[in-house]
């Protein structure tokens, strides 16, 4: 199989998966006993309004027609409108996405750096107290429900560090005077630290365990023995020969854990009332605002598919053996 074949195959797979995800998204939300409108929690809505809404949403047509309409709307980037605010789903979800991305990025980078370091040291110092400490801390954080860790953070860490525990900005900021960009930035960062740290610690557990076992396998390889026999320093053996090869399985596993990251941040954002896409999902569930829920789910699925594709291609770039 040539390079191009492999890349084309992965992209084709991703595209088919996108299609499957879209169809699943349609089927799930249309297979309800009632429909989106009757499930809406809304006291003032009259029967007339509901009938109108149904017509608006095309729910009076046959399932196949609805499916085609759905595909057509998607092709135009139209995810429908929120049943509650009447605004476009894309508009409604845009701000939450902007809030979530930096927070997740902060947490993930923290987890990757710490997890890699602890995993490598654990594997290199296998069997020692340092290894045991790394392994057990990894296992414990991996086993913690993220929302619970979030609650512990609020209870024990927030007070000690003097960090805010909810929201994304200080409500008093900007009342008396226009704050400087720097003040706003610091305020945002302070609100981001705890949720990011929570998701970072949960992920750290997983990454440390993965890196440790990948490193253990790599350190047993013949080329590592060769490197040591050449008289290279431990540092060079571990970081240049060991880790670089151990990172290959790690990339795949990190990509596969994205589904979990997403699950984690939904509950974490809820705990910290952080107005990201997770909180949007929680609110949509609470108010039975299905178009928002559907849009958010599609968005999350597509991002996971995208990251899996990136991981596949990255793996291929780093390890040409993959095709053979």
């Amino acid at each position: 199989m040539t390079r191009l074949d492999f890349v084309a195959k992965r992209i084709a797979f991703a595209l088919v998966t996108v299609f499957v995800a879209i169809t699943l998204n349609f089927v799930l939300f249309r297979s309800l006993s009632g429909d989106a409108v009757s499930a809406l929690r809304c006291r003032q809505c009259t029967a007339q309004f509901k009938a109108y809404e149904r017509k608006q949403l095309g729910l009076d047509k046959s399932k196949w027609e609805q499916y085609w309409l759905y595909l057509g709307d998607l092709a135009h980037g139209n995810l429908g409108s929120s049943l509650r605010t009447e605004k476009r789903v894309t508009t409604e979800l845009w701000d939450p996405i902007k809030n979530t991305l930096p927070m997740i990025a902060l947490g993930t980078v923290f987890a990757i750096v710490l997890g890699t370091m602890v995993g490598v040291v654990s594997a290199w110092r296998r069997g020692t107290a340092a290894d045991k400490a790394g392994l057990w801390s990894g296992l414990c954080f991996y086993a913690m429900p993220p929302q619970w860790l979030g609650l512990l953070m609020v209870l024990f860490v927030a007070g000690a560090l003097g960090l805010p525990t909810s929201g994304i900005k200080d409500p008093t900021l900007g009342i008396l005077s226009e704050p400087s960009t720097w003040t706003v930035f610091v305020d945002r960062l302070r609100h981001m630290v705890l949720p990011a740290l929570t998701i970072g610690l949960v992920l750290y557990g997983e990454y440390a365990l993965i890196v440790r076992s990948a490193m253990l396998e790599t350190l047993g390889e013949d080329y590592v023995l060769t490197a040591r026999a050449k008289g290279l320093s431990s540092w060079a053996v571990v970081w240049r020969h060991g880790l670089r090869n151990a990172m290959l399985p790690v990339i795949t596993l990190v990509a596969l854990s994205l589904g979990f990251i997403i699950g984690g941040f939904i509950t974490i954002e809820y705990v910290f009332s952080y107005p990201g896409i997770g909180l949007a999902v929680v609110e949509a569930i609470d108010q039975r605002d299905y178009p928002i829920l559907q849009g958010a789910f599609l968005l999350l699925t597509l991002s996971v598919i995208l990251f899996n594709l990136i991981a596949d291609l990255l793996y291929f770039k780093l390890d040409p053996r993959v095709t053979s």
């Binding site: 995800a21 799930l28 086993a143 429900p145 396998e217 996971v304």
Partner: protein, 321 residues
């Protein structure tokens, strides 16, 4: 051996059941032993604990958020109920969800894996494609959406979790089935005229079973974890007390504002202990059983400390007198 020639002709004594149990490759690992003991304690608590409770655990027994005392070991929660009793009740429900959902997964994943691995060809391709798609779709959001759409009963939650976590099982079982299918005894049985159904159920499945069990134990951890997610978002069964529900209650009843750490910490610790125990047991078993890992004795995983060759049930076949 200093034994005489006559003794060599006698078949080696069949080890007692207890000896075989002790020499079992899987249970010999310290990791698996510790994990199984912890898990066993929780399972016993989950089964017999609720029967021993003096009254309904949700009954109000004291003031709201009372700190731990001799009367109420873990204090009271936001409804004034005894946290210790709630934890016991929660263990029962959480473990029920964990075991039942893992069983559902094992049945689906096991069937898919067996069929794909055994028949190969087009069946294999079709089933594995399906698995690949399921693998990419983010599991937790899918669970949340399904739970939000299909209602909040314990059965639903078990089915949802079970129907989503079968993918890794299917892949693992498929790989194992492929190696078993090619073994000589399976071919012989086939030559004797055994049908596919008999081959799968009587000759392949028993060989695959240990690995399936190991994987199912790992799935219990995932399932208990997933239950806390679903419940935390208010999608749990409203009539049942699980550990996930206790975490949710602590959050919605503002245990934090009341500084009531005793209402928050125990349920999470319970989940942690069970997840760690399942992970330890499941991983030790998988490591001992997974053919991919064992074939790697040439280079991969050389750092794994190997146990000396066993002279138990499996050992006797290899030791020629």
């Amino acid at each position: 051996m200093s034994a005489g020639a006559a003794e060599a002709l006698v078949a080696p004594p069949v080890p007692s059941r207890w000896t075989r149990f002790r020499r079992n490759r899987v249970l010999a690992s310290r990791q698996a032993q510790v994990g199984l003991v912890i898990l066993g304690l929780f399972v016993l608590t989950g089964i017999f604990g609720p029967l021993a409770l003096p009254h309904d655990p949700q009954e109000k027994v004291g003031p709201v958020f009372q700190s731990p005392s001799w009367a109420h070991l873990f204090g009271t929660d936001g409804g004034g109920a005894d946290m210790f009793f709630l934890m016991i009740q929660g263990a029962s429900v959480s473990l029920l969800v964990g075991f039942a959902a893992a069983a559902v997964s094992a049945v689906i994943g096991g069937t898919v894996g067996l069929l794909a691995g055994f028949f190969g060809g087009k069946t294999d391709i079709a089933l594995m494609r399906l698995t690949d798609y399921f693998l990419v779709i983010p599991d937790i959001p899918l669970m949340i959406v399904v739970a939000a759409l299909f209602g909040r009963s314990l059965t639903n939650i078990i089915l949802i979790i079970g129907a989503i976590y079968w993918t890794s099982t299917a892949r693992l079982i498929r790989a194992q089935t492929k190696t078993v299918r090619e073994r000589v005894y399976v071919r012989r049985v086939r030559a004797l005229g055994a049908g596919n159904f008999r081959l799968i159920t009587r000759h392949v499945l028993p060989q695959v079973m240990p690995l399936l069990i190991a994987n199912t134990i790992l799935l219990i951890a995932y399932a208990i974890f997933a239950e806390t997610f679903i419940t935390f978002l208010g999608l749990g069964d409203p009539s049942r007390i699980s550990w996930g529900r206790l975490i949710e209650n602590a959050f919605t009843d503002d245990a934090i504002l009341n500084n009531a750490w005793w209402a928050i910490v125990p349920p999470g610790l319970g989940v942690m202990a069970v997840v760690v125990a399942c992970t330890m047991t499941g991983q030790a078993m998988e490591d001992a059983l997974n053919p991919r890992l064992r074939a790697g004795h040439l280079s991969v995983r050389r750092f794994r400390i190997r146990r000396p060759p066993l002279t138990g049930v499996e050992g006797t076949a290899k030791v020629e007198p």
